[in-house]
Symmetry: C2
Subunit: 321 residues, 2 copies
């Protein structure tokens, strides 16, 4: 997993970032979103995610949940950009032997999430493939002109905050595999909950943001790297669900999954200390808890501490406790 | 081919058009593009196309040409919408065993077409697949506010025009399969030439437009259907390349391929007779020839005539000469 992601980042840096160098709103492909100037008041945040059956979701997954995952991973990125959901394009490549029943369920899942998140389909493409069903969604969000959030804006002295609880999806993956028991965590893994109510409220408060899709340490590292800073995270401050807390108390080795596992779809963001009151008001208004887990300083490392003691982290994201 | 396309249109009408009904700029998913209001002067035309190795291009095709095809099929749609190329998002799913050499060639192909067509990458996603390499591009174009062209605007009395020459790609496919000999036609099949200089100049002249990707009869039929009209096409007026003319003179049965084969990526459009002078000036300015091949009237059929005599066309697009 870690080596595949590294390879993706290398491909982007080596071959695709040069193709985007003349487009200011692409930010060198280092953030979750591109920003297209729209009108005097708004920019359009744009995010594309592609998911493949058997890779990003289980082949036998219910089509309603596949649709929800495809859309929500994009909505999570828009939220990290501070953008409110607006519209999306859908490219759907159906595997041989697809059934109309599957397509109907997939469309039902999209319809339910369109209502839930206030977004609407605006176009796309449908085709067939001899391979696994593949879905690419390009989602559009609206954000105040020039104020969209990227990974690169954090400053030394900013605090590191995260939304919700961390690690539920990584533990939920183990539950989905039958390696531990928790239907609540398994659901968190199967159905991301993008922070669409919080993200737009972070505009003017956060200086940088990312959604936690690759894992807390990796995504916080992306913010630090894009901002040219060091980031420190205190493990004891990382917010946990009751279910995760129970599991970690009996098997502390699973902290690795919590810190390095992906698919949380929470937000990680940098906030100047003077904005803390505004942040807590935004959190209340959004109905999403936030937790102060660390901070940014001059340097270039990701430093994980446990009760203040620095730990070793391998480049792969592997944590040596 | 015809039955697959029919099935795609059915899926869209049955399951996806309802998801887009509240988005005015989606036009019920009946046109090549969606139009997103951008600013006081411009709308953003948006088009997504997904292509799959072994389905839409040959698995052993040069990666430069795969990149060009992926981008150009979208540019052709933007041109049909009257929009000038602006930016694009790229989702790339690489088959197992992909090589960095392939990715480098693919990126080179994109870079060359970025320069040629004045468009730039602004974001995307890269992932792996156990299936064939799959590419989805969402392209953005700019068009004057509220003036983007769709399929549904033709009026009774409008003339039907097409750009360039028709059928070269369908005959080129036969050449690629070794069924006839013509390197010029094979190149037309392998490398679409989107009419990006003509499309934006049709704004204010054409009342409806589509690019010819499914085949002349099918795409002209889409314009007629979306406009609630009958369309008549005179075969003897369909513009042909010298190579196509030579082949048809020895094997007239190949007219079927010319009229019903796809991948021409020319434009078909409706023009009121009073705009003919403006159209010819636009054609000269664009450096793209146009030909008057028929017209629209009240009704709901696609009528093909040969020297004025109506022919039978099956629902599948098959022509009974």
């Amino acid at each position: 997993m870690a080596s595949r992601r590294a390879s993706e980042f290398e491909l982007i840096a080596r071959y695709f970032a040069p193709l985007a160098k003349d487009f200011a709103g692409a930010g060198g492909l280092k953030s979750d979103n591109a920003f297209l100037p729209a009108n005097a008041r708004h920019d359009l945040a744009v995010k594309t995610d592609m998911i493949v059956s058997g890779v990003h979701f289980l082949a036998e997954e219910r089509p309603e949940l596949v649709a929800a995952r495809a859309l929500r991973v994009c909505l999570s990125d828009l939220a990290a950009g501070g953008a409110a959901p607006y519209a999306y394009q859908l490219a759907l490549s159906l595997t041989r032997g697809w059934t109309e029943r599957w397509v109907a369920g997939f469309a039902r899942g999209l319809a339910a999430d369109q209502r839930r998140f206030g977004i609407t389909l605006c176009g796309g493409d449908t085709t067939g493939t001899p391979g696994p069903t593949t879905i690419s969604i390009t989602a559009f969000g609206k954000v105040s002109r020039g104020r969209g959030l990227g990974r690169g804006g954090a400053r030394a002295g900013d605090e590191l905050w995260v939304s919700g609880t961390i690690g539920d999806a990584a533990l939920g993956l183990l539950a989905a595999r039958g390696e531990l028991k928790s239907s609540a965590l398994e659901k968190r893994y199967r159905l991301p909950q993008p922070r669409t109510t919080l993200g737009p409220r972070l505009v003017g408060i956060a200086t940088a943001a990312a959604d936690i899709s690759d894992g807390l340490l990796a995504d916080v590292g992306h913010i630090a790297h894009a901002s040219g800073l060091e980031v420190q995270i205190e493990r004891d401050r990382v917010p946990l669900s009751g279910a995760a807390r129970g599991i970690l108390s009996t098997d502390p080795a699973l902290w690795r999954n919590v810190l390095a596992g992906g698919d949380d779809y929470e937000l990680a963001f940098a906030v100047p200390p003077r904005k803390r009151t505004a942040l807590l008001a935004a959190s209340r208004a959004a109905g999403v808890r936030v937790a102060h887990v660390g901070g940014f300083s001059r340097g270039s490392r990701v430093v994980l501490t446990v009760s203040g003691q620095p730990q070793r982290i391998a480049q792969s994201g592997y944590v040596h406790f």
